[in-house]
Assembly symmetry: C2
Homo-oligomer: 224 residues x 2
């Protein structure tokens, strides 16, 4: 209808008709972290025109990728969430995330970190999410005033948005946390230089740095 079509019977073309629209990938990223209300989405997507967000959500709902839960009784707000079909986009979002992260060097002027962006980054960094069975560690990661958490237990890693109760280690950092995830900044140096501030057992930071990894690409041109 309103959507632009490429006229090709091709999976990538169909995907491009959806994710190839401005803001859509970021809306899906935010929803992939968990259900969100309209105002939360606005807050997590600085600069998005409210009309654009409204029409994107409507399109995604029409396409069966997002569902809205109307305020009913106790809930007084509409909540948007991914449908099962929307959840299936996860691997594609992660692959794009990983590729984009490989090209990041330093933040551009004015670039910010949001709860969804740090959560998505940690999720990608967790890779297949497998760790040794005997690891049982809870991390809270704070970048600026946004927070996410990483829980390693029962042999798997779970990443989520927001704080967590009684973390074994709180990691506070700036965007340079990315250099740790990229393996560009080793754990002792990050601690020594104050690039990260820890609350809890500092020894657990080494495990964090060793386990979470988003390699950066060696193929990125010097000026990009």
């Amino acid at each position: 209808m309103t959507n632009q079509h490429y006229g090709q019977f091709c999976g990538l073309a169909r995907a491009a008709e959806i994710v190839g629209q401005r803001w859509t990938l970021l809306i899906l990223r935010d929803l992939s972290v968990g259900p969100r209300r309209y105002s939360e989405l606005v807050a997590g997507l600085p600069g998005i025109p409210t009309g654009t967000l409204a029409s994107r959500l409507k399109e995604l709902e029409d396409q069966g990728i997002v569902e809205r839960t109307l305020p009913s009784g106790a809930e007084r707000s509409t909540v948007y969430a991914l449908t099962p079909r929307g959840e299936e986009l996860g691997p594609a979002l992660d692959a794009l995330s990983r590729w984009g992260a490989g090209g990041m060097r330093t933040p551009r002027a004015g670039e910010i970190v949001t709860t969804a962006s740090i959560t998505a980054a940690l999720r990608v960094a967790a890779g297949d999410g497998v760790v040794p069975d005997d690891w049982d560690t809870t991390y809270e990661v704070r970048v600026g005033d946004v927070t996410a958490h990483v829980i390693m237990s029962d042999g798997v890693i779970v990443v989520g948005a927001g704080p967590v109760e009684k973390p074994d280690l709180v990691i506070a950092a700036g965007p340079h946390i990315r250099d740790v995830l990229a393996g560009e900044l080793d754990a002792p140096t990050a601690i020594a230089t104050g690039a990260v501030q820890l609350e809890g057992d500092p020894a657990l930071f080494q495990r964090f740095a060793d386990t979470l990894r988003v390699p950066f690409s060696v193929n990125v041109p010097a000026v990009g």
Copy 2:
């Protein structure tokens, strides 16, 4: 410069700034199949405005994702190809392709199949590209007037655009070949109903149907 930024220090946001532009994903798909000339890209992307293609290629070149080889001596045409950084997008393109293909049912009115689209579909269907070591089979796949090939040998599958010499089996079909890849149409039925026409050993078609698979999603709403 001309490119729109999202203002977030986030891998997905950086990726979205590039692949979130109209036509870019399809240009990258075509180039992922192999180097192409300007006119070949125009032919493979029906409906693309020539100015849009030119500016996309320039942007992608500036970003180190595409490189152009100027006509030198024997070559009389500019050729566009993915750089190593561009090749790294492969997994993300495949993941998007797979997701989009999962939502495809029947072609929409006027939708066509191009060489790059069928090649990309077969490459995604090949999955990790591993087959038994003793398989040594060459397929040529024709959909309408476009052709691709699949070669199984030395334990791996290689998919490419265009015809191949002395195929063991030529498979000619319409877009319904997708139903075979989706597992919706089994090999004997496809042959019996004439959905595919074979030249060569028909027994090899069963292997083709069993090995190449793009599952379609059960989560797609009835009307989409």
